[in-house]
Assembly symmetry: C2
Homo-oligomer: 384 residues x 2
């Protein structure tokens, strides 16, 4: 329920996790998250938004579309005569403040988490419930997939614009606690092509993408859901890697071609395959989204060694900066046998830092009022 700070003020804070694709249309919610506070007051002159400490343009079409849809749902509920609708929010302007607990350079799907969190928070402020993923879909193509925690499946609708696509939870975040994630941030370079226009060009020009969508993805979805249910890491890992490679293959088959992987990404891929080959077991998997950063999946018992392997083959810069962020990982020693089996030339500064994380919950309301990102004046607090 919205918190009333006096008569003219309604404020809600929520957090939502970041998405990582396991395979296309099946995702994993991480502990990395976006937190958003929305305040609503008759004293506000206009809608405003602050992202990671900087005021941004509220008039951008995606934001406007989210605001419009939520207000429309709230209005509908009021006219339907539902009792608990906070009607104040409908005529008032909103202030939105949002921060990520991870560096934006990590190239994670922060816009999806951000829109999911925004829609969820707006819905709480305006007293709207129900199928919100259709609304957050207005913001970012993959935002609807952020409305749950753990493993989430994306179910496509029939409409060409995807407005009727939905998400559904395959397993909650508590299902597979041994599964761990390492994000290897390999480059702070800007993406050469935005992922939305990229996918559009792929749909129009890649012959292989059509075949992949029609003939490969449906079977892989089934296999992946089964691997997750059974906590079968080998099956999970191999499907994840094959699907990541095939996605990037269709990018290359796009005309003109789209490249997200760079030479560092390819070294990470080789490193993972050599590591697994040494153990004659698939202990580690990689996946890459629309950028060069690697997301590594492994089980708890392999995290320490694999982090040490990454440190060995991508020695961190010596002049400061924290190389490992997120959940702590103890240092360990690598056997000479393992280093020789991998046998790659170390590449200094290839990886900027590692974020160590695991499965996280879906969007939720932050109950502690001290965690609001907006102050009682409706403006961002110093720390936000």
């Amino acid at each position: 329920m919205p918190e009333d700070s006096g008569k003219e003020f309604t404020m809600v804070t929520c957090s939502a996790p970041v998405n990582i694709a396991v395979i296309k249309y099946c995702e994993y919610r991480m502990f990395l998250k976006t937190t958003t506070t929305v305040a609503c007051s008759r004293s506000f002159q206009e809608d405003r938004i602050w992202l990671n400490g900087k005021e941004e343009d509220i008039t951008q079409p995606r934001l406007q579309s989210c605001l419009r849809e939520i207000r429309c749902l709230a209005r509908k509920r009021r006219s339907d005569g539902e009792a608990d609708v906070d009607t104040a929010g409908l005529s008032h302007k909103v202030h939105i403040c949002s921060v990520n607990n991870f560096p934006t350079a990590a190239g994670l799907a922060s816009s999806a988490a951000g829109y999911a969190c925004l829609v969820y928070t707006l819905s709480r402020v305006m007293g709207v419930e129900g199928e919100l993923s259709v609304v957050s879909r207005q913001g970012s193509g993959s935002a609807c997939r952020s409305m749950y925690g753990g493993f989430v499946q994306w179910i496509m609708g029939q409409q060409g614009d995807g407005k009727d696509s939905l998400s559904q939870q395959v397993e909650p975040e508590t299902h597979w606690p041994e599964l761990r994630v390492l994000v290897l941030v390999v480059s702070a370079e800007r993406k050469p092509v935005g992922s939305t226009s990229g996918m559009q060009t792929s749909v129009e020009t890649s012959i292989l993408l059509k075949h992949r969508a029609d003939s490969v993805v449906p079977a892989r979805m089934k296999e992946m859901i089964e691997a997750v249910h059974k906590r079968d890491f080998t099956a999970f890992a191999e499907l994840t890697m094959k699907d990541s490679n095939q996605f990037h293959a269709t990018c290359l088959d796009t005309y003109p071609p789209i490249f997200y992987l760079n030479d560092v990404s390819r070294r990470v891929i080789n490193l993972v395959h050599r590591y697994n080959r040494h153990y004659r077991e698939t202990k580690v998997a990689y996946t890459f989204d629309a950028g060069p950063n690697a997301v590594i999946y492994t089980l708890q018992q392999n995290v320490e060694e694999f982090v040490q392997v990454v440190k060995h083959f991508f020695p961190p810069e010596t002049n400061g900066g924290q190389f490992l962020k997120g959940l702590p990982v103890a240092p360990t020693t690598l056997s000479e046998e393992l280093k020789q089996a991998i046998g790659m030339e170390p590449m200094v500064k290839g990886i900027c830092y590692i974020i160590s994380t695991k499965a996280g919950p879906g969007p939720r309301v932050v109950e502690d009022p001290s965690e609001h990102l907006l102050g009682s004046d409706g403006l961002p607090k110093e720390s936000a």
Copy 2:
């Protein structure tokens, strides 16, 4: 006819052009070539081979297979009672000496040209004629395609081992004299995966490769042959680029994935698309074989400008070395407008050198005895 240097000596020298794939199963013979001399003498103790000045192991299975097949054909012709067979060669050992007129670092399909030239020369020494491409196929998967000049189509047979695949000329090297080739040698690094084992793994693991082979390649072959017949550069160029990208997409879809393109290759691809976009015309095309080096196709009138563009965006190392090898290309000046339209950051030392060339003839006998690579003692001359 073989030249007899006295009673006990038979020597033949031939040259064969290098292959560049236009699209899969359709290739273009370049002026770059391999030259091979084979000498046959009862005084030789054993079969020996020298490649680019260095003696190599004659016992390697591919070489042995070529020698065995040719000797078998010669024996068959003798037992069929054909008059002009030089029976001497059958019992005698051979000395083979082969050189390329281009740097091996260029990563061109030198093994294909090499085997084609070897088989052609051996056949002349041993007096064998007929369908030699089946024999040279023993040496290298693509060697059979080197038996003609100009544009050559590869017709696959029914046998799983490819032994019945043949090649046929689409157009001779004189058909499209305006068509020019620039080889951009981007890296001297060794290939991470040999192309034979790579293709085998792709066939076994890439779902997209199967779709490509069944549903994409046959139609593209027809379109390409038509584009060559009509000298339609736009159609030729776009098919070439799309097919190169799709080949590399199937490499990425292989498990574990195979990477031939590196960051420099991707920059070349972006450069070509930006250059074409500036002119709103497809004036330049790229293709990449099993390595990072780019092969650029363009028409005569664009060679000077595009070489200058490459020099501008990949400034050569200043400390000597010839940046442009092969056919001469006059320097020119680029407009500021073009440089701005391309708008990439120059990358120093990204490209080692450029080889400028054009269509070449098929394998042929070198008539001038002074061009033999072996001396009258049956050993390589100083210059070879």
